[in-house]
């Protein structure tokens, strides 16, 4: 694949329309806006929609779909280190004895 891949205009336009549609969807399924309530899944649904949007931005706007796959390795390692950050901090908070905790 050439370093200078030209993506057709309509691809970018369709991605923008999909992103705007997903934004409307996020708002529509939000409890404070529409009253829609899926219990503990509210958070999961909101994050799933956000992740689909993030995927579209990464794949098309940031050209990952067409680009050198080495960049994908950087992203996967970013997610890995982010997961470590979340995981280790969560373990710390959840395992602190309540009596001695200063939180």
């Amino acid at each position: 694949m050439s370093a200078h891949n030209i993506v057709p205009f309509h691809v970018y336009r369709n991605v923008l329309l999909a992103l705007l549609a997903l934004t409307v969807l996020t708002v529509l399924v939000a409890k404070p806006v529409s009253g829609f309530d899926a219990g503990i899944f509210n958070f999961v649904i909101a994050m799933a929609i956000a992740s689909v949007k993030a995927g579209l931005v990464l794949a098309f706007f940031m050209q990952l779909k067409y680009d050198n796959k080495l960049f994908l390795v950087i992203i996967v390692s970013t997610v890995f280190f982010l997961a470590l950050l979340f995981g280790i901090c969560t373990i710390d908070i959840l395992t602190r004895p309540a009596l001695t905790s200063t939180l």
Binding site: T23, P32, V33, A46, A50, V57, F71, S77, L85
Partner: protein, 215 residues
């Protein structure tokens, strides 16, 4: 100063060819974006843990945010990401005029985003919805509502400062594009600034539901 005329297809001597230089520049930016995600990651961890420890505080805090402002800002940023890629698209097609127009629209979107952010901040500051110890809103239900606003101001503030930096970089790209420095052979600065701008957009995609739409 730079003596390599990249507009004419030249490249620094330690690269094999212009494509090699282009790819290497992008590789550097991707590594930088990784460190950016990890910096924001610390704040996302704070949000995640505090919102689990004090769910009522976070639900109450989100009530003082107007989701309409957040939704408009999301649309503005998505549109700006679209015009950013169009800037690259037109540079790739040697259309300098449309490249400058696209980048200018992106810059205007940045201004709109920051203006809306200013309206939101001004309203909250007036109400006393301030971070931590500065919190002075009398009708708060939760005793630690200031915690929510500490997280709110840190996350949106760090994000907003990235928007400002991005706007400065886009302005620099516009100035260079106007001089005719970019064409199908060389547009590395727009490409790299674009990657940064999309990351700022990506972070907002997560911030919007987390801060404005929780129940």
């Amino acid at each position: 100063m730079n003596t390599v005329n990249r507009t004419a297809g030249e490249y620094a001597h330690h690269f094999e060819n212009a494509d090699h230089e282009f790819e290497t520049s992008k590789f550097g930016i991707w590594l930088f974006l990784c460190t950016e995600v990890l910096m924001f990651g610390g704040l996302f961890v704070a949000y995640f843990l505090f919102s689990n420890l004090y769910p009522e505080t976070f639900v109450e805090g989100a009530k003082y945010l107007d989701w309409k402002y957040g939704a408009i800002n999301t649309a503005v940023l998505l549109l700006s990401s679209f015009t950013m890629v169009l800037g690259i698209y037109y540079a790739q097609n040697n259309n300098t005029k449309k490249c400058v127009t696209s980048l200018s629209i992106t810059l205007v979107c940045g201004f709109i985003f920051m203006f809306i952010k200013y309206l939101e901040y001004a309203h909250k500051i007036e109400m006393g919805l301030l971070p931590g110890e500065m919190f002075s809103f009398a009708e708060a239900q939760s005793s630690n509502l200031g915690l929510y606003f500490s997280v709110y101001y840190m996350m949106t503030g760090l994000h907003g400062s990235h928007v400002l930096v991005g706007m400065g970089l886009i302005f620099w790209c516009i100035l260079r594009a106007r001089k005719g420095e970019f064409n199908s052979k060389y547009y590395t600065p727009i490409e790299c600034v674009g990657l940064f701008w999309h990351l700022v957009d990506l972070i907002w995609i997560y911030l919007f539901p987390l801060l404005y739409l929780i129940d």
